[in-house]
Symmetry: C2
Subunit: 339 residues, 2 copies
DNA sequence: TTGTATGCGTTATCAA
DNA sequence: TTGATAACGCATACAA
């Protein structure tokens, strides 16, 4: 009848219970479980067995109180759809190692007061650090310099240059896209992109232009088509491009959404992709890119890597001190069938 | 020179500091800050002022140690893209009230051992409860009955009927879609959907069939087109539907992805939407539905509401006790221009 | 090698 | 109305 351990009602089993079961003091139990050297092998084994029997799991809150470290970080986002935050979170999660550090995900929904609330709550929970992911890849307000924990801005840089920001190399991404097109023999390349008030749109265009310039080439139609980040704009702009420069042989779209619009119009005009016109997008948003007809080549921002980097920098900053500045993460090409 | 408070270096300001600054004992400071009645108004004001000056924020870990409640919950997901988890998280977040309860988001990436790890970590952090979001809307393995905290399964029900599961009313969603089509005079309705091994696909189809039956109608072509959850399948299946039943006047797609494929083929065949054929999707995945040509009518699963409900049930279960079973959350129609 | 005592930051129970 | 003091669960310096 002793064969049914307290397994099923394992609420609140503490080190005290383990110690009692093992017949040692709390201190000894603690040392045994934490691999401290000053404990006899046989004793340690006994303690460990007891802990397992009770399926003991140490109370991290109590540990945190002592070590002054909660083993948690906050991920403060404003990115509604989680489209950028999620890959960043996943990268961070695996850099931290899931059982070392856990992350609180808070969505401020673009609301400054909600952000303040979340910030207070996180600080109150004694997070060891913060990762801030903005809604768009442009500078956002700093959380301030007087926070008790290190803060890393990811995706959207902080407006304060003394903060550490990790951002996508959009210029490089633009180069990458155009370089790929050029290598495949395209010469009449157009660029349709989103809102011109976005730094990312400017940067991607700049990268494209630079690479084109190196080849002695200019943009087909000699302009960048700024508009909005939507399929509808991609459709409309493509129509204009075709009218203005019917000999266009490639279109670099500033986002996968736009690229979908581009494809749509190209199909309507019976222009073969990539036979007649190659198309390349930006973001590698799988649901859009992989399912396109044909599957869309695109530029991936390596957001997971960005998340990993954020975790590493944060980790380093937690004991050391944080150096401000802007670090850049390179993009990579994902070639499918549209180019 | 006293005008510069310790604001900038506010690391580790404790109740002790506040008490000292206010000239009272720690106990009194605590009572004052927690609105306990037995404290003089003037004293309370003094304490509060001191707390503000030091921008004191109580250490939640310490509070949790005493109250036996961490004020945190874990959201354990397997939903890679966060497509379902995020709305659920947002709903839960706002039901909890951001400064009362914070949520740990953990992605198990469909890996059972990773899930175990996360679970251990979460338990060790003494979360007050768990919300589990599966990867697909079918039953998933239970976490077990012997956990020290209440668990709610959202989106994917638990295989154990004694657990509490909150799921989408897929049958109702199917009815809703077809009902809408019928009300707008459609009679020759086809249904193209995803993998037939998905309960959700079966349920949506069943709802559609039921509603059709009530009207004395049958499915155009007298079959449900099961396949995969992709645009490509939507395209291919539409082609078959058109061949088999050229007089089809509406297509109910089992997901927005499929619906996008349907639209694509319809355009290729020069069939006007919704003039000739109406189309309705499922999921209300904004990026796909809102940007479609024409914008796609679709069924929304009210995932945020599901998240809110999960939070409420969890909250209730934290002090009370949890009743098992399956609760269902209704869908709603989002009418755009494709129907 | 083991155990006792102290403290982490709070709250709660008493006396004063 | 206020202030010692004892928890909460754990880790550690120190004593045995």
């Amino acid at each position: 009848m002793e064969s049914e351990p307290a397994q099923s009602a394992n609420r609140a089993v503490t080190l005290r219970d383990v110690a009692k079961l093992a017949g040692v003091s709390i201190a000894t139990a603690s040392k045994a479980l934490n691999n401290q050297p000053q404990v006899r092998a046989e004793t340690r084994a006994r303690v460990i067995r007891a802990a397992e029997q009770l399926s003991f799991s140490p109370n991290t809150l109590a540990q945190g109180l002592i070590t002054q470290r909660s083993g948690t970080v906050g991920l403060l986002t404003s990115d509604l759809e989680g489209r950028f935050s999620i890959p960043i979170l996943m990268g961070a999660e695996d850099a931290f190692g899931s059982d070392q550090t856990s992350v609180f995900l808070c969505d401020a929904r673009g609301d400054a007061v909600r952000e303040k609330h979340h910030l207070r709550a996180l600080l109150s929970r004694r997070v060891d650090g913060l990762i801030v992911v903005g809604a768009r890849p442009d500078a956002r307000a700093s959380l301030g310099r007087d926070l008790p924990v290190p803060v890393i801005y990811a995706y959207s840089p902080s407006a304060d240059p003394d903060d550490l920001s990790l951002v996508t190399d959009n210029v490089g991404g633009g180069r990458l896209a155009v370089d790929h097109l050029i290598r495949h023999g395209r010469r009449r390349i157009a660029h349709i992109t989103g809102d011109e008030t976005y730094g990312a749109a400017q940067d991607r265009a700049r990268g494209a232009l630079e690479r084109l310039g190196e080849e002695g080439l200019a943009l087909a139609g000699e302009q960048v088509w700024f508009g909005s980040w939507s399929e509808a704009w991609g459709r409309g702009a493509t129509r204009m491009v075709l009218q203005r420069t019917p000999d266009v042989d490639a279109i670099f779209a500033g986002s996968d959404e736009i690229a979908r619009g581009v494809l749509d119009t190209l199909h309507q005009e019976n222009l073969d992709v990539p036979g007649k016109v190659a198309v390349i997008g930006f973001d590698n948003w799988n649901i859009l890119a992989a399912n396109a007809r044909p599957p869309l080549s695109t530029v991936d921002m390596n957001l997971e890597q960005l998340g990993r980097l954020a975790a590493q920098r944060l980790f380093a900053a937690i004991d050391g001190t944080l150096e401000g500045g802007v670090e850049t993460v390179g993009c990579r090409l994902v070639i499918r069938e549209s180019s």
